[in-house]
Symmetry: C2
Subunit: 244 residues, 2 copies
Amino acid sequence: MTASMLDKAAIILDCFIPSGGPYRLSELSERTGLPKPTVHRLAADLIRLGWLERTGPQYRLGAKLFELGSLVPRRRDLRETALPFLQDLFEATRETVHLGVREGMDVVYLERIHGHEALRLPSRIGGSLPLSCTAVGKALLAFSGAELTDELLSRPLPRLTPHSITDPARLRMTLEKIQVSGLAYEEQEAALGVSCIAAPVFAGGTTVAALSVAVPRERFSPAQLAPAVRTAALGLSRAVRGSS
Amino acid sequence: MTASMLDKAAIILDCFIPSGGPYRLSELSERTGLPKPTVHRLAADLIRLGWLERTGPQYRLGAKLFELGSLVPRRRDLRETALPFLQDLFEATRETVHLGVREGMDVVYLERIHGHEALRLPSRIGGSLPLSCTAVGKALLAFSGAELTDELLSRPLPRLTPHSITDPARLRMTLEKIQVSGLAYEEQEAALGVSCIAAPVFAGGTTVAALSVAVPRERFSPAQLAPAVRTAALGLSRAVRGSS
DNA sequence: TCATGTTGTTCCGTTCCACGGAACAAACAT
DNA sequence: ATGTTTGTTCCGTGGAACGGAACAACATGA
Protein backbone atom coordinates (compact mmCIF):
# COMPACT_ATOMS: atom_id res chain seq x y z
CA MET A 1 0.00 0.00 0.00
CA THR A 2 2.73 2.40 -0.99
CA ALA A 3 1.29 5.56 -2.47
CA SER A 4 1.61 6.14 -6.20
CA MET A 5 2.64 9.38 -7.76
CA LEU A 6 -0.99 10.21 -8.40
CA ASP A 7 -1.90 9.66 -4.77
CA LYS A 8 0.85 11.99 -3.69
CA ALA A 9 -0.32 14.65 -6.10
CA ALA A 10 -3.79 14.31 -4.61
CA ILE A 11 -2.40 14.58 -1.10
CA ILE A 12 -0.64 17.78 -2.05
CA LEU A 13 -3.74 19.31 -3.60
CA ASP A 14 -5.86 18.25 -0.64
CA CYS A 15 -3.63 20.39 1.54
CA PHE A 16 -5.39 23.39 0.11
CA ILE A 17 -8.75 22.29 1.51
CA PRO A 18 -10.34 24.21 3.06
CA SER A 19 -8.25 27.37 3.17
CA GLY A 20 -6.91 27.45 -0.36
CA GLY A 21 -4.41 29.94 0.95
CA PRO A 22 -0.83 29.99 -0.30
CA TYR A 23 1.69 27.55 1.15
CA ARG A 24 5.42 27.34 0.91
CA LEU A 25 7.36 24.26 -0.02
CA SER A 26 8.32 23.42 3.56
CA GLU A 27 4.76 23.78 4.79
CA LEU A 28 3.54 21.48 2.05
CA SER A 29 6.21 18.98 2.94
CA GLU A 30 5.20 19.12 6.57
CA ARG A 31 1.44 19.03 6.03
CA THR A 32 1.60 16.17 3.55
CA GLY A 33 4.22 14.15 5.36
CA LEU A 34 6.08 13.79 2.07
CA PRO A 35 9.85 14.36 1.78
CA LYS A 36 10.85 17.76 0.53
CA PRO A 37 12.46 16.64 -2.74
CA THR A 38 9.34 14.66 -3.57
CA VAL A 39 7.06 17.64 -3.04
CA HIS A 40 9.45 19.78 -5.02
CA ARG A 41 9.38 17.45 -7.99
CA LEU A 42 5.65 16.81 -7.90
CA ALA A 43 4.83 20.48 -7.43
CA ALA A 44 6.85 21.26 -10.54
CA ASP A 45 4.80 18.70 -12.45
CA LEU A 46 1.54 20.08 -11.11
CA ILE A 47 2.55 23.58 -12.12
CA ARG A 48 3.34 22.36 -15.61
CA LEU A 49 -0.19 20.97 -15.76
CA GLY A 50 -1.78 24.17 -14.47
CA TRP A 51 -3.09 22.52 -11.31
CA LEU A 52 -0.79 24.59 -9.14
CA GLU A 53 0.61 28.07 -9.51
CA ARG A 54 3.65 29.60 -7.97
CA THR A 55 4.65 33.17 -7.31
CA GLY A 56 7.99 33.34 -5.60
CA PRO A 57 7.85 30.87 -2.73
CA GLN A 58 4.02 30.77 -2.66
CA TYR A 59 2.16 27.78 -4.03
CA ARG A 60 -1.56 28.13 -4.85
CA LEU A 61 -4.20 26.09 -6.62
CA GLY A 62 -4.05 26.64 -10.37
CA ALA A 63 -6.58 28.01 -12.81
CA LYS A 64 -6.94 24.69 -14.59
CA LEU A 65 -8.67 23.26 -11.56
CA PHE A 66 -11.22 26.03 -11.70
CA GLU A 67 -11.86 25.19 -15.30
CA LEU A 68 -12.29 21.49 -14.59
CA GLY A 69 -14.31 22.04 -11.46
CA SER A 70 -16.81 24.18 -13.29
CA LEU A 71 -17.54 21.29 -15.63
CA VAL A 72 -18.45 18.68 -13.02
CA PRO A 73 -21.90 17.71 -14.29
CA ARG A 74 -23.62 16.83 -11.03
CA ARG A 75 -22.73 20.24 -9.66
CA ARG A 76 -23.07 22.36 -12.75
CA ASP A 77 -26.47 21.14 -13.91
CA LEU A 78 -28.17 21.65 -10.60
CA ARG A 79 -26.58 25.03 -10.09
CA GLU A 80 -27.66 26.12 -13.53
CA THR A 81 -31.31 25.21 -13.10
CA ALA A 82 -31.34 26.61 -9.58
CA LEU A 83 -29.82 29.98 -10.37
CA PRO A 84 -33.02 31.77 -11.49
CA PHE A 85 -34.82 30.67 -8.35
CA LEU A 86 -31.94 31.80 -6.19
CA GLN A 87 -32.15 35.16 -7.92
CA ASP A 88 -35.84 35.37 -7.17
CA LEU A 89 -35.20 34.48 -3.58
CA PHE A 90 -32.46 37.04 -3.28
CA GLU A 91 -34.57 39.79 -4.76
CA ALA A 92 -37.47 38.92 -2.50
CA THR A 93 -35.37 38.94 0.66
CA ARG A 94 -32.24 40.94 -0.23
CA GLU A 95 -30.30 38.62 2.05
CA THR A 96 -27.59 36.02 1.52
CA VAL A 97 -28.97 32.98 -0.30
CA HIS A 98 -27.55 29.44 -0.36
CA LEU A 99 -27.93 26.31 -2.44
CA GLY A 100 -26.56 23.11 -0.92
CA VAL A 101 -26.55 19.35 -1.41
CA ARG A 102 -25.70 16.48 0.86
CA GLU A 103 -22.37 14.66 0.64
CA GLY A 104 -22.03 12.06 3.33
CA MET A 105 -22.63 13.74 6.67
CA ASP A 106 -21.85 17.19 5.34
CA VAL A 107 -23.61 19.79 3.29
CA VAL A 108 -21.71 21.07 0.27
CA TYR A 109 -22.62 24.51 -0.99
CA LEU A 110 -23.07 24.86 -4.73
CA GLU A 111 -23.96 28.51 -4.81
CA ARG A 112 -24.09 31.47 -2.54
CA ILE A 113 -25.25 34.88 -3.67
CA HIS A 114 -25.41 38.09 -1.72
CA GLY A 115 -25.39 41.85 -1.98
CA HIS A 116 -22.86 44.38 -0.81
CA GLU A 117 -22.99 43.82 2.90
CA ALA A 118 -20.48 41.20 3.85
CA LEU A 119 -22.00 38.97 6.57
CA ARG A 120 -19.21 36.78 7.97
CA LEU A 121 -20.21 33.22 7.19
CA PRO A 122 -18.38 29.90 7.31
CA SER A 123 -20.18 28.76 4.15
CA ARG A 124 -18.24 28.85 0.91
CA ILE A 125 -19.02 27.59 -2.54
CA GLY A 126 -17.50 24.14 -2.79
CA GLY A 127 -17.00 24.09 0.96
CA SER A 128 -18.75 21.79 3.39
CA LEU A 129 -20.23 22.03 6.88
CA PRO A 130 -21.76 19.45 9.22
CA LEU A 131 -25.37 18.63 8.39
CA SER A 132 -26.48 19.21 11.96
CA CYS A 133 -25.12 22.75 12.21
CA THR A 134 -26.86 24.45 9.31
CA ALA A 135 -30.39 25.07 8.15
CA VAL A 136 -29.64 23.65 4.74
CA GLY A 137 -28.13 20.59 6.35
CA LYS A 138 -31.07 20.00 8.65
CA ALA A 139 -33.52 20.42 5.78
CA LEU A 140 -31.59 17.78 3.83
CA LEU A 141 -31.31 15.50 6.84
CA ALA A 142 -34.99 15.67 7.75
CA PHE A 143 -36.03 14.37 4.35
CA SER A 144 -33.31 11.80 3.66
CA GLY A 145 -34.69 8.84 5.57
CA ALA A 146 -34.41 7.67 9.15
CA GLU A 147 -31.35 5.49 8.55
CA LEU A 148 -29.26 8.53 7.75
CA THR A 149 -30.35 10.27 10.93
CA ASP A 150 -29.56 7.15 12.93
CA GLU A 151 -26.11 6.91 11.41
CA LEU A 152 -25.46 10.59 12.04
CA LEU A 153 -26.48 10.20 15.67
CA SER A 154 -24.26 7.15 16.13
CA ARG A 155 -21.34 9.50 16.43
CA PRO A 156 -21.04 12.62 18.58
CA LEU A 157 -22.48 15.75 16.97
CA PRO A 158 -19.95 18.37 15.90
CA ARG A 159 -20.16 21.89 17.26
CA LEU A 160 -19.33 25.09 15.40
CA THR A 161 -20.67 27.54 17.96
CA PRO A 162 -22.03 27.31 21.52
CA HIS A 163 -25.51 27.21 19.96
CA SER A 164 -24.89 24.15 17.77
CA ILE A 165 -27.20 21.28 18.61
CA THR A 166 -25.23 18.47 20.22
CA ASP A 167 -28.01 16.70 22.08
CA PRO A 168 -29.35 13.79 19.97
CA ALA A 169 -32.84 14.00 21.45
CA ARG A 170 -33.07 17.67 20.68
CA LEU A 171 -31.92 17.14 17.10
CA ARG A 172 -34.55 14.42 16.63
CA MET A 173 -37.27 16.78 17.86
CA THR A 174 -36.03 19.52 15.58
CA LEU A 175 -36.07 17.21 12.58
CA GLU A 176 -39.64 16.16 13.33
CA LYS A 177 -40.74 19.76 13.37
CA ILE A 178 -38.98 20.27 10.04
CA GLN A 179 -40.76 17.30 8.55
CA VAL A 180 -44.11 18.79 9.59
CA SER A 181 -43.50 22.36 8.54
CA GLY A 182 -41.26 21.75 5.54
CA LEU A 183 -38.95 24.45 6.84
CA ALA A 184 -35.69 24.22 8.76
CA TYR A 185 -34.43 26.92 11.10
CA GLU A 186 -31.01 27.59 12.48
CA GLU A 187 -30.06 30.21 14.99
CA GLN A 188 -26.36 30.94 15.40
CA GLU A 189 -25.52 27.25 15.17
CA ALA A 190 -22.96 27.70 12.40
CA ALA A 191 -21.84 31.28 12.99
CA LEU A 192 -22.50 33.68 15.83
CA GLY A 193 -24.91 36.46 14.95
CA VAL A 194 -26.40 34.68 11.95
CA SER A 195 -29.77 32.96 11.70
CA CYS A 196 -31.03 30.93 8.81
CA ILE A 197 -34.14 29.41 7.28
CA ALA A 198 -34.10 26.63 4.68
CA ALA A 199 -36.42 24.48 2.57
CA PRO A 200 -35.76 21.18 0.81
CA VAL A 201 -35.87 20.57 -2.94
CA PHE A 202 -37.46 17.32 -4.07
CA ALA A 203 -37.15 15.42 -7.32
CA GLY A 204 -38.88 12.13 -7.86
CA GLY A 205 -39.39 11.34 -4.21
CA THR A 206 -35.83 12.02 -3.11
CA THR A 207 -34.29 15.14 -1.64
CA VAL A 208 -31.72 16.51 -4.05
CA ALA A 209 -30.87 19.85 -2.49
CA ALA A 210 -31.97 22.58 -0.15
CA LEU A 211 -31.88 26.34 -0.32
CA SER A 212 -31.73 28.85 2.46
CA VAL A 213 -31.64 32.49 3.44
CA ALA A 214 -29.09 33.67 5.99
CA VAL A 215 -29.86 36.80 7.99
CA PRO A 216 -28.17 38.78 10.76
CA ARG A 217 -29.76 37.61 13.97
CA GLU A 218 -31.22 40.98 14.95
CA ARG A 219 -33.38 41.32 11.87
CA PHE A 220 -34.38 37.68 11.52
CA SER A 221 -38.14 37.42 10.98
CA PRO A 222 -39.15 33.89 9.95
CA ALA A 223 -42.72 34.85 9.11
CA GLN A 224 -41.57 37.15 6.34
CA LEU A 225 -38.92 34.82 4.94
CA ALA A 226 -40.83 31.55 5.07
CA PRO A 227 -43.10 32.11 2.06
CA ALA A 228 -40.24 33.25 -0.14
CA VAL A 229 -38.07 30.26 0.73
CA ARG A 230 -40.96 27.87 0.25
CA THR A 231 -41.86 29.37 -3.08
CA ALA A 232 -38.31 29.17 -4.38
CA ALA A 233 -37.86 25.58 -3.21
CA LEU A 234 -41.11 24.47 -4.78
CA GLY A 235 -40.33 26.22 -8.03
CA LEU A 236 -36.91 24.62 -8.16
CA SER A 237 -38.39 21.21 -7.39
CA ARG A 238 -40.64 21.54 -10.40
CA ALA A 239 -37.78 22.69 -12.60
CA VAL A 240 -35.49 19.86 -11.53
CA ARG A 241 -38.17 17.30 -12.25
CA GLY A 242 -38.47 18.74 -15.72
CA SER A 243 -34.77 18.72 -16.54
CA SER A 244 -33.80 15.29 -15.30
CA MET B 1 9.88 12.74 -23.13
CA THR B 2 7.68 9.80 -22.22
CA ALA B 3 4.62 10.91 -20.33
CA SER B 4 4.44 10.25 -16.60
CA MET B 5 1.45 8.83 -14.85
CA LEU B 6 0.45 12.32 -13.78
CA ASP B 7 0.58 13.57 -17.34
CA LYS B 8 -1.66 10.78 -18.46
CA ALA B 9 -4.14 11.53 -15.73
CA ALA B 10 -4.18 15.14 -16.88
CA ILE B 11 -4.69 14.05 -20.47
CA ILE B 12 -7.68 11.99 -19.40
CA LEU B 13 -9.24 14.81 -17.41
CA ASP B 14 -8.61 17.28 -20.22
CA CYS B 15 -10.80 15.11 -22.42
CA PHE B 16 -13.76 16.51 -20.54
CA ILE B 17 -13.01 20.05 -21.71
CA PRO B 18 -15.17 21.65 -22.88
CA SER B 19 -18.19 19.36 -22.93
CA GLY B 20 -17.85 17.69 -19.54
CA GLY B 21 -20.29 15.15 -20.89
CA PRO B 22 -19.97 11.47 -20.00
CA TYR B 23 -17.54 9.31 -21.91
CA ARG B 24 -17.08 5.59 -22.08
CA LEU B 25 -13.79 3.79 -21.65
CA SER B 26 -13.24 3.26 -25.36
CA GLU B 27 -13.95 6.88 -26.17
CA LEU B 28 -11.48 7.99 -23.54
CA SER B 29 -8.90 5.60 -24.92
CA GLU B 30 -9.45 6.94 -28.41
CA ARG B 31 -9.56 10.62 -27.49
CA THR B 32 -6.47 10.44 -25.31
CA GLY B 33 -4.47 8.17 -27.56
CA LEU B 34 -3.67 6.02 -24.52
CA PRO B 35 -3.97 2.22 -24.57
CA LYS B 36 -7.17 0.86 -23.14
CA PRO B 37 -5.64 -0.96 -20.16
CA THR B 38 -3.80 2.19 -19.20
CA VAL B 39 -6.95 4.29 -19.22
CA HIS B 40 -8.74 1.57 -17.31
CA ARG B 41 -6.15 1.52 -14.57
CA LEU B 42 -5.75 5.28 -14.33
CA ALA B 43 -9.49 5.87 -14.38
CA ALA B 44 -9.83 3.52 -11.43
CA ASP B 45 -7.22 5.56 -9.57
CA LEU B 46 -8.93 8.82 -10.45
CA ILE B 47 -12.26 7.47 -9.22
CA ARG B 48 -10.66 6.46 -5.96
CA LEU B 49 -9.47 10.04 -5.57
CA GLY B 50 -12.88 11.51 -6.39
CA TRP B 51 -11.62 13.20 -9.53
CA LEU B 52 -13.75 10.99 -11.74
CA GLU B 53 -17.09 9.31 -11.19
CA ARG B 54 -18.55 6.34 -12.89
CA THR B 55 -22.11 5.14 -13.34
CA GLY B 56 -22.22 1.96 -15.38
CA PRO B 57 -20.06 2.57 -18.43
CA GLN B 58 -20.23 6.38 -18.09
CA TYR B 59 -17.24 8.32 -16.81
CA ARG B 60 -17.73 11.91 -15.58
CA LEU B 61 -15.70 14.50 -13.76
CA GLY B 62 -15.87 13.96 -10.01
CA ALA B 63 -17.15 16.14 -7.21
CA LYS B 64 -13.70 16.57 -5.70
CA LEU B 65 -12.69 18.66 -8.66
CA PHE B 66 -15.58 21.01 -8.01
CA GLU B 67 -14.43 21.36 -4.45
CA LEU B 68 -10.85 22.11 -5.46
CA GLY B 69 -11.84 24.36 -8.32
CA SER B 70 -13.94 26.52 -6.05
CA LEU B 71 -10.88 27.24 -3.94
CA VAL B 72 -8.60 28.57 -6.68
CA PRO B 73 -7.72 31.95 -5.18
CA ARG B 74 -7.28 34.02 -8.32
CA ARG B 75 -10.76 33.02 -9.42
CA ARG B 76 -12.56 32.92 -6.13
CA ASP B 77 -11.44 36.27 -4.75
CA LEU B 78 -12.39 38.24 -7.82
CA ARG B 79 -15.70 36.46 -8.16
CA GLU B 80 -16.50 37.14 -4.54
CA THR B 81 -15.87 40.86 -4.68
CA ALA B 82 -17.61 41.12 -8.02
CA LEU B 83 -20.79 39.30 -7.07
CA PRO B 84 -22.65 42.21 -5.48
CA PHE B 85 -21.98 44.38 -8.51
CA LEU B 86 -23.14 41.65 -10.82
CA GLN B 87 -26.31 41.46 -8.77
CA ASP B 88 -26.82 45.17 -9.13
CA LEU B 89 -26.27 44.94 -12.84
CA PHE B 90 -28.66 42.06 -13.16
CA GLU B 91 -31.37 43.82 -11.22
CA ALA B 92 -30.93 46.95 -13.25
CA THR B 93 -31.15 45.15 -16.59
CA ARG B 94 -32.86 41.82 -15.83
CA GLU B 95 -30.64 40.29 -18.50
CA THR B 96 -27.84 37.73 -18.50
CA VAL B 97 -24.73 39.16 -16.85
CA HIS B 98 -21.11 38.01 -17.27
CA LEU B 99 -17.82 38.42 -15.47
CA GLY B 100 -14.71 37.43 -17.42
CA VAL B 101 -10.94 37.64 -17.30
CA ARG B 102 -8.26 37.22 -19.91
CA GLU B 103 -6.23 34.05 -20.20
CA GLY B 104 -3.90 34.14 -23.15
CA MET B 105 -5.94 34.90 -26.24
CA ASP B 106 -9.19 33.77 -24.66
CA VAL B 107 -11.67 35.14 -22.21
CA VAL B 108 -12.50 32.87 -19.28
CA TYR B 109 -15.85 33.41 -17.61
CA LEU B 110 -15.85 33.48 -13.83
CA GLU B 111 -19.52 34.10 -13.31
CA ARG B 112 -22.70 34.24 -15.27
CA ILE B 113 -26.05 35.03 -13.69
CA HIS B 114 -29.43 35.15 -15.30
CA GLY B 115 -33.15 34.82 -14.68
CA HIS B 116 -35.62 32.25 -15.86
CA GLU B 117 -35.45 32.77 -19.59
CA ALA B 118 -32.80 30.53 -21.02
CA LEU B 119 -30.94 32.46 -23.77
CA ARG B 120 -28.72 29.97 -25.62
CA LEU B 121 -25.18 31.15 -25.11
CA PRO B 122 -21.77 29.59 -25.73
CA SER B 123 -20.44 31.17 -22.55
CA ARG B 124 -20.08 28.93 -19.51
CA ILE B 125 -18.53 29.48 -16.13
CA GLY B 126 -14.98 28.18 -16.38
CA GLY B 127 -15.29 28.05 -20.15
CA SER B 128 -13.37 30.18 -22.59
CA LEU B 129 -14.05 31.95 -25.89
CA PRO B 130 -11.83 33.86 -28.30
CA LEU B 131 -11.16 37.43 -27.20
CA SER B 132 -12.16 38.81 -30.57
CA CYS B 133 -15.61 37.23 -30.61
CA THR B 134 -17.13 38.56 -27.39
CA ALA B 135 -17.85 41.93 -25.84
CA VAL B 136 -16.03 40.96 -22.66
CA GLY B 137 -13.07 39.83 -24.72
CA LYS B 138 -12.90 43.01 -26.75
CA ALA B 139 -13.18 45.13 -23.62
CA LEU B 140 -10.22 43.24 -22.16
CA LEU B 141 -8.25 43.40 -25.38
CA ALA B 142 -8.76 47.12 -25.90
CA PHE B 143 -7.18 47.93 -22.56
CA SER B 144 -4.38 45.36 -22.39
CA GLY B 145 -1.73 47.10 -24.42
CA ALA B 146 -0.93 47.27 -28.12
CA GLU B 147 1.50 44.33 -28.04
CA LEU B 148 -1.31 41.96 -27.17
CA THR B 149 -3.44 43.20 -30.04
CA ASP B 150 -0.49 42.82 -32.39
CA GLU B 151 0.12 39.28 -31.27
CA LEU B 152 -3.57 38.42 -31.59
CA LEU B 153 -3.60 39.79 -35.12
CA SER B 154 -0.49 37.85 -36.10
CA ARG B 155 -2.68 34.80 -36.43
CA PRO B 156 -5.97 34.48 -38.31
CA LEU B 157 -8.99 35.55 -36.26
CA PRO B 158 -11.34 32.74 -35.21
CA ARG B 159 -14.99 32.82 -36.20
CA LEU B 160 -17.92 31.59 -34.11
CA THR B 161 -20.70 33.00 -36.28
CA PRO B 162 -20.92 34.68 -39.69
CA HIS B 163 -20.88 37.98 -37.80
CA SER B 164 -17.58 37.38 -36.00
CA ILE B 165 -14.96 39.96 -36.88
CA THR B 166 -12.21 38.36 -38.95
CA ASP B 167 -10.82 41.43 -40.68
CA PRO B 168 -7.79 42.77 -38.75
CA ALA B 169 -8.38 46.35 -39.85
CA ARG B 170 -11.96 46.25 -38.70
CA LEU B 171 -10.99 44.82 -35.32
CA ARG B 172 -8.40 47.59 -34.86
CA MET B 173 -11.02 50.21 -35.58
CA THR B 174 -13.45 48.59 -33.19
CA LEU B 175 -10.85 48.53 -30.44
CA GLU B 176 -10.12 52.21 -30.92
CA LYS B 177 -13.77 53.05 -30.49
CA ILE B 178 -13.81 50.97 -27.33
CA GLN B 179 -10.81 52.82 -25.97
CA VAL B 180 -12.60 56.12 -26.51
CA SER B 181 -16.00 55.17 -25.19
CA GLY B 182 -14.95 52.71 -22.49
CA LEU B 183 -17.62 50.32 -23.76
CA ALA B 184 -17.39 47.29 -26.00
CA TYR B 185 -20.23 46.07 -28.18
CA GLU B 186 -20.83 42.74 -29.83
CA GLU B 187 -23.64 41.82 -32.16
CA GLN B 188 -24.17 38.14 -32.86
CA GLU B 189 -20.43 37.57 -33.07
CA ALA B 190 -20.42 34.75 -30.54
CA ALA B 191 -23.97 33.43 -30.89
CA LEU B 192 -26.70 34.16 -33.38
CA GLY B 193 -29.52 36.27 -32.00
CA VAL B 194 -27.52 37.60 -29.06
CA SER B 195 -26.01 41.05 -28.64
CA CYS B 196 -23.77 42.18 -25.86
CA ILE B 197 -22.28 45.24 -24.18
CA ALA B 198 -19.26 45.16 -21.88
CA ALA B 199 -17.06 47.43 -19.78
CA PRO B 200 -13.54 46.85 -18.41
CA VAL B 201 -12.58 46.66 -14.75
CA PHE B 202 -9.33 48.37 -13.78
CA ALA B 203 -7.10 47.91 -10.78
CA GLY B 204 -3.88 49.81 -10.40
CA GLY B 205 -3.50 50.71 -14.04
CA THR B 206 -4.08 47.24 -15.42
CA THR B 207 -7.21 45.61 -16.72
CA VAL B 208 -8.16 42.73 -14.45
CA ALA B 209 -11.59 41.79 -15.76
CA ALA B 210 -14.61 42.90 -17.70
CA LEU B 211 -18.31 42.52 -17.19
CA SER B 212 -21.09 42.46 -19.70
CA VAL B 213 -24.80 42.19 -20.34
CA ALA B 214 -26.07 39.81 -23.00
CA VAL B 215 -29.43 40.53 -24.59
CA PRO B 216 -31.58 38.96 -27.30
CA ARG B 217 -30.86 40.93 -30.46
CA GLU B 218 -34.38 42.19 -30.95
CA ARG B 219 -34.56 44.05 -27.66
CA PHE B 220 -30.96 45.27 -27.56
CA SER B 221 -30.87 48.97 -26.68
CA PRO B 222 -27.33 50.13 -25.89
CA ALA B 223 -28.43 53.53 -24.63
CA GLN B 224 -30.35 51.97 -21.76
CA LEU B 225 -27.73 49.37 -20.86
CA ALA B 226 -24.62 51.52 -21.12
CA PRO B 227 -25.00 53.46 -17.86
CA ALA B 228 -25.72 50.34 -15.85
CA VAL B 229 -22.70 48.48 -17.21
CA ARG B 230 -20.47 51.48 -16.69
CA THR B 231 -21.67 51.96 -13.14
CA ALA B 232 -21.12 48.33 -12.24
CA ALA B 233 -17.65 48.25 -13.78
CA LEU B 234 -16.58 51.41 -12.01
CA GLY B 235 -17.94 50.20 -8.70
CA LEU B 236 -16.12 46.91 -9.07
CA SER B 237 -12.91 48.70 -10.01
CA ARG B 238 -13.07 50.63 -6.76
CA ALA B 239 -13.82 47.50 -4.76
CA VAL B 240 -10.97 45.52 -6.34
CA ARG B 241 -8.51 48.30 -5.58
CA GLY B 242 -9.60 48.17 -1.98
CA SER B 243 -9.26 44.44 -1.55
CA SER B 244 -5.91 43.87 -3.22
C1' DT C 1 31.33 40.33 8.81
C1' DC C 2 30.82 35.98 10.34
C1' DA C 3 27.99 32.34 12.54
C1' DT C 4 23.73 29.77 12.42
C1' DG C 5 19.49 28.09 11.26
C1' DT C 6 16.00 27.56 7.58
C1' DT C 7 14.38 26.88 3.08
C1' DG C 8 14.84 25.68 -1.67
C1' DT C 9 17.33 22.87 -5.09
C1' DT C 10 20.23 19.34 -7.37
C1' DC C 11 22.31 14.76 -7.66
C1' DC C 12 22.17 9.96 -8.44
C1' DG C 13 22.08 4.81 -7.30
C1' DT C 14 18.48 1.76 -6.14
C1' DT C 15 14.06 -0.08 -6.19
C1' DC C 16 9.73 -1.01 -7.44
C1' DC C 17 5.63 -0.21 -9.87
C1' DA C 18 3.58 1.61 -13.92
C1' DC C 19 3.25 -0.09 -18.46
C1' DG C 20 0.60 -2.10 -22.26
C1' DG C 21 0.48 -6.25 -25.44
C1' DA C 22 -2.02 -10.25 -25.38
C1' DA C 23 -5.47 -13.04 -23.99
C1' DC C 24 -9.93 -13.38 -22.05
C1' DA C 25 -14.83 -12.15 -20.81
C1' DA C 26 -19.08 -9.68 -21.47
C1' DA C 27 -22.25 -7.12 -23.90
C1' DC C 28 -24.32 -6.01 -27.90
C1' DA C 29 -25.62 -6.24 -32.99
C1' DT C 30 -27.07 -8.80 -36.94
C1' DA D 1 -25.43 -18.77 -33.81
C1' DT D 2 -21.68 -15.49 -35.26
C1' DG D 3 -19.15 -11.73 -35.55
C1' DT D 4 -17.89 -7.21 -33.37
C1' DT D 5 -17.05 -4.01 -30.03
C1' DT D 6 -16.20 -3.01 -25.24
C1' DG D 7 -14.56 -3.94 -20.71
C1' DT D 8 -11.29 -6.51 -17.82
C1' DT D 9 -7.38 -9.36 -16.13
C1' DC D 10 -2.65 -11.05 -16.36
C1' DC D 11 2.14 -10.57 -16.02
C1' DG D 12 7.31 -9.91 -17.48
C1' DT D 13 9.92 -6.09 -18.28
C1' DG D 14 11.94 -1.49 -18.44
C1' DG D 15 12.41 2.80 -16.87
C1' DA D 16 10.98 6.38 -14.06
C1' DA D 17 9.84 7.78 -9.43
C1' DC D 18 12.02 7.92 -5.13
C1' DG D 19 14.31 10.33 -1.30
C1' DG D 20 18.73 10.55 1.49
C1' DA D 21 22.52 13.39 1.26
C1' DA D 22 24.90 17.14 -0.14
C1' DC D 23 24.70 21.75 -1.71
C1' DA D 24 22.99 26.56 -2.48
C1' DA D 25 20.37 30.58 -1.35
C1' DC D 26 18.51 33.11 1.84
C1' DA D 27 17.23 35.11 6.38
C1' DT D 28 18.39 36.42 11.20
C1' DG D 29 21.15 38.10 14.82
C1' DA D 30 25.33 39.63 17.28
